[in-house]
Every structure is written in structure tokens, then in C-alpha cells.
Symmetry: C2
Subunit: 362 residues, 2 copies
């Protein structure tokens, strides 16, 4: 009380331009935070892209607010500063300070990185976060990114993604044979092993291709982001997914830019990234819920699970795929061991808690 | 760049005790953050209580770090400063600045508050957070707490809790009739409608009562906190739960203490509480997973769901209970409407995503 009043008085004195020895002692404590820092951040999403793009802008605002304006992060949407998928290299080389994207995109650099982005039949978002935080995931990620001069923070999670929109009902594994499906990444690799022909198409061309029957199916994200793509108008069968049970996004620093920050600035940015990370999950939950309601109202759509036969086969193929990668790449082997050990342990708990509860609630 | 160098120079000048007009202009921006604040926080948990107690200590550390030492929060465990359940009143009156506890405990003040703590057959943690953040939950909570001179922030979530430890297998609703069960709160109210005789016992007496057969069952939290209570040694049947699908904890400020903080300090504390809030969920996930593994190794325990008959009856009774409260209390009616509308919408999404995924993964 005594002390608080004393310091309030000093603050008051500063306002009117006073100057005394004690006052400077007080200021010295805060020397680092007063050093203004301006950082450039580039994302892989268009400006104002729902949830992901807007989340990063909110992150930068929070950092500015909590640092009293001393940390300014300038956010550049997709292609404004560097091409969408050049953000990794641009940050690695120090051309920019930070990027917001997904580890999912960097499997060409090192297939082990795809594990940090999420794995078919892998961990749910809460499980994933427990692994990063308490199961050694974050340490492994930082160890590998360090080779690229990068320092990753968690930057969000999409929650479980849907399996995709299909023009025809899928009743068996046979129905998938030869289907042309827009699906990238590990999911595409997995579907190819189920007999699907995975097609890569830029976002802007998917709807027309699906409408004209040039492709039979398309996977995107989930209701919140799928609705504006209009797929539901031309492909009525919407399947629950297991290829992307929670894709992880990253907020990754150039290591030098990170190390230049004071402990205090690092703490502010870390807390803001953790807030971004969890808020994105909550925002996807509410946006997906609203969009699903709207989809059901607007279109005659059929929502279902893939047939058991398809899911079982996908599970087997996914396991084989992971084992193949592990045998080819030492990093993948190590990260996969850590990841799958944690998953095997934590899913026992998830099954008797989250799964049991959602089943009982109905 | 230009500006950054300029300010660095100013900071340098301050170090050697310089004093100029420009310098003060720079300081004025940071006037509030430099005002050192010391806040007293009391919890309802013992010092170093796993996950919950340690989480609050970590929160205080993060706030100190991110504020460059300008916000010091002194954490007092259960009964050190005020009795465990007197923290609400002590903060309301301004005797202390902050408390960490659960809205669960304040239903005697206003039954509507119990909804903010979590509801039988209610929302999962991610759903709950979406409601607080995007569905109006936080606004309603703050509106009601305002009457008590309080300003709540989110302070954690236990994740789904187990249904309890039973000495005998429960095979039907009939098996519950007349059972003496240690279970407090809304859960106790609900179990009483299933024929159970709810008993209130302090933590330290539960094990002995269960061991001697003075009670037939006991509900606590989940593996992480149950294991050290030793229940598994004397009651082998461990049931998945639906009475507490994710109990919410709070970090609640005296309104005056909150309002005195600068915008910057508020942002730091809000981010730290959001970090505490989500980390607790992740920590419960990993601790529950490890403890479950250990329980299975150490004891011969039987983990199961309650029989469908019991769950169905509980669901009906829970609905009736909520409707009764709503008819008796205007606040409850309003909060319940907001809560249950959101739940009905969001569970459609959860069922085709989280539930479907956990079932498919197996």
C-alpha cells in the first residue's frame, strides 16, 4: 500500500515532466521492454482469411497491447511480401522475422515435419497439445527447426477436418476405385492407397471441376471454410474424416529475431501465441457449428461416416505408410516413436473420458 | 529503423541518468506499465495441489515475467489467508484482489452460477470455451459477477471427470438404490434422483469410509487426482462419467483491483489466464493418461460405462433438474437458455467430428 502510493506519485511526477534519481531507478528495471521492436510476419493465407488469417491479426494486436506498443508485428497476408509457400525459406534466411503457416507444407524439406502438422488416425487437438507440451513434442520440433535457423511456437489447430464432399454415395471400398479426388498431402497419399486418384487443383478451380464432373470428390477443411466454396451445391455426400484429426498451425520465428528479444518480450509473444493457438480451436468449433446448421438448412446434404470397410483399410494403410517413412528417415523414426508412444498411452484415457462422454450424451 | 535507433538511444540515455523532454515523452507511453502492482491471490486448493495449484503458481510467474516484474501476484493456497470457500466473499469485499476456485462452489449464492462451472450432460471443454468466447457465456458471467463486485477470467478446465469408484459392479438402476455415495454438488443432486444417497465427507475421510464400507462409492475427479486418494485399492469398479464433462475453474478479480490496472497490464493478465486455462486442460490430459496406465498396472480394476438404463435415466433427470432451476430463478433461466441453445447447435458438429473420429480411431 505504502509502496504502491509512492510509485503512483512518481508516475504522476513523470507525467508533468519531473525528474529524480529514484524515478530513474524505477525505469531501469524496464529497459528492455522499452526498446521498440518492429517485426515482419508473413502468412500462407489470404488477408482476412476466416479464423486463421483473422487470428494472426488478433495475435499481433494482443502483442502490441500487452507490450504497451513496444512490439509491433506487421502482418502480411499470402503473397503480399513473399509467395504463400516461400514463408519458411524467407524466415529461415532472415528476410522476414516470423511466418504463420502449417508444418504440413514442409514435408518436401523433411518428411518428419509432417508429423508436427498432424497425422491420419493421429492425436486429437487436446492430445496433440499434451504431447507438444508434456510429451517432448515441442523439444523435438525445435531441435529439427533449429537446423533451419527457425524457432517454432504453436499457432493454432483446425480441429478435426471432414473427409470430403463426394458426388456419389460411398458404400464400399469398391466405390472408391478410380475416383478422382482433390486431396493434397498425406491424406492424398493415403487415399491413393485406397484406390483413389488424388488430384491437385488450386482452390479457385475446385468448384468448377467438381460441378462439371472432372473430379468426383473434393476435400477441403470443414463446414466453416467449406461453405463458401459452394461444394455442397454439386456434391451432396459429406463424410466425417480421419485423415486430418486436427491440423496444427505454427507461428515460427527466425531464430536470430527471436533471440534478440528480451525475456519479457518473449514471454508476451509466447503467451499471445498460446492464446492464438487455443482460441483458434474454440473459433473453429463455433464457426463449424454455425456453418453446419446453415449447410443443413440450405442444401439437401447427406452426412455420414465412411463405411467401416473403408475406415479399416485406411487405418491399416496409414500404419504402413508411417512405418515406411520411419524406415526411410531417421528424424521421422524418432519423432514418430515419440508421437505414437504418447498416442497409445493417451488414447486409453480419451476413450474412457471424451469418447465415452460424447457417446453417452448422444 | 530510424525510429528504433532513436528510441534505443533514448533508452541508453536513461541508463546513465540523462533527462530530456523527448525522453519523457517516450516514458509517458509506458507510464502505466511502470507502475508496480502487487496483488494478493487466494485459492481453494492446498499449496502445490497437482495441476490446479501448480497451474496458478505458474500463472503468477508468467505474469511477472511478461510484465518485467511490474506485476507481482502473491499466491496463497487454501486456508493460508482466508478459508478455502471464503475466497469469493474475501475478493468481493476487497480483502484480497483475486481468487482461483470454481463457480461450482457458489450455487448457494445464486444457482445460476453453477452453469458457469459445468453441467451434467453439458458441454465438453472445447464446446464450453466456444460458448464463453463466442456464444455470450463470458458476458453473462461478467454481468452476474458484477453484482458481487467481481470480474471473472477463465482459469482452467479439468476435462471430463470420471463417474466414481464403486465397491460393487453396477449392472442396473436397481443396483444404485440406497447406495451411499460420496458425491457433492449438482452431481449429488442428480444421483439422489437415481436412488443414491449422496454423502458429504471431507477429502481426508473418504478413503477410510470407503474401505470400511461406511460408504459404497466415491466420486472425486479422474485418474490424475484419484490415484493418490487410494480408492482403487478398496473399490474396484471405476465408471466413466457424465455428471461433470469438464469443470470450469475461474480466476476472479475484485472489480476495483481489475479496473485500477492499465490496459496493458490487463492484457498481460488476460493472456496469462488464457494460457493457464488451456494448459490446465492439456496437463489434465497427460496426467490422467499416465495415472490411468499406472492404475491399470497396480490394481485389478474394472473400467466401464454405467449401464444404458442408468445413463438414460440420468439424462432425463438432469433435464428435469435444469428445468426446475430455470423455473425458480430468472438468472438461471437466462443463462440456461444461452447455454443449452449453444449446446444443441454445437453438439451436431462435435458428433460428426470429435465423436465420429474417436469412434473410427478406436
Amino acid at each position: 500500500m505504502d509502496r504502491r502510493n509512492f510509485i503512483t506519485l512518481l508516475a504522476g511526477a513523470t507525467l508533468v515532466g519531473g525528474c529524480s534519481k529514484s524515478q530513474f531507478e524505477d525505469k531501469n528495471i524496464n529497459i528492455n521492454r522499452n526498446r521498440k521492436v518492429r517485426l515482419k510476419l508473413a502468412t500462407s493465407w489470404p488477408d482476412n482469411f476466416p479464423i486463421m488469417g483473422t487470428g494472426v491479426v488478433e495475435f499481433a494486436k494482443r502483442v502490441k497491447e500487452a507490450s504497451g506498443g513496444s512490439i509491433e508485428i506487421e502482418v502480411y497476408g499470402k503473397n503480399r511480401l513473399v509467395p504463400a509457400l516461400a514463408v519458411f525459406d524467407a524466415t529461415s534466411s532472415g528476410n522476414i522475422d516470423i511466418f504463420h503457416s502449417g508444418p504440413y507444407y514442409w514435408k518436401g524439406k523433411n518428411i518428419a515435419l509432417s508429423i508436427f502438422g498432424g497425422v491420419p488416425f493421429g492425436m486429437s487437438p487436446i492430445e496433440t497439445m499434451s504431447w507438444f507440451k508434456n510429451g517432448g513434442g515441442l523439444e523435438l520440433w525445435r531441435e529439427i527447426y533449429d537446423r533451419y535457423n527457425l524457432y517454432p511456437l504453436l499457432g493454432g489447430n483446425t480441429g478435426p477436418q471432414m473427409g470430403g464432399w463426394f458426388r456419389k454415395k460411398i458404400e464400399s471400398l469398391a466405390d472408391l476405385q478410380g475416383l478422382k479426388m482433390r486431396i493434397p498431402g498425406l491424406g492424398g497419399e493415403l487415399f491413393s492407397r485406397l484406390g483413389v486418384n488424388p488430384i491437385l487443383l488450386p482452390a479457385g478451380e475446385i468448384f468448377t471441376a467438381l460441378e462439371r464432373g472432372m473430379i468426383d470428390a473434393a476435400e477441403w477443411v470443414g463446414p466453416a471454410l467449406d461453405i463458401s466454396m459452394g461444394f455442397y451445391k454439386v456434391a451432396k455426400y459429406y463424410y466425417s474424416g480421419w485423415a486430418e484429426p486436427g491440423s496444427i498451425l505454427e507461428l515460427t520465428f527466425n531464430k536470430h529475431s527471436w533471440n534478440k528479444l528480451s525475456k519479457e518480450q518473449q514471454a508476451i509473444i509466447e503467451m499471445a501465441s498460446n492464446e492464438l493457438n487455443s482460441n483458434m480451436l474454440y473459433n473453429f468449433q463455433s464457426e463449424n457449428s454455425s456453418a453446419l446448421e446453415k449447410l443443413k438448412r440450405e442444401g439437401e446434404i447427406y452426412i455420414d461416416k465412411f463405411p467401416d470397410e473403408v475406415t479399416q483399410k485406411a487405418k491399416e494403410e496409414s500404419k504402413k505408410l508411417m512405418e515406411e517413412f520411419a524406415s526411410q528417415n531417421r528424424d521421422f523414426e524418432r519423432v514418430w516413436k515419440s508421437y505414437s508412444d504418447f498416442l497409445n498411452k493417451t488414447k486409453e484415457w480419451s476413450n474412457i473420458s471424451y469418447k465415452s462422454y460424447l457417446e453417452d450424451r448422444g
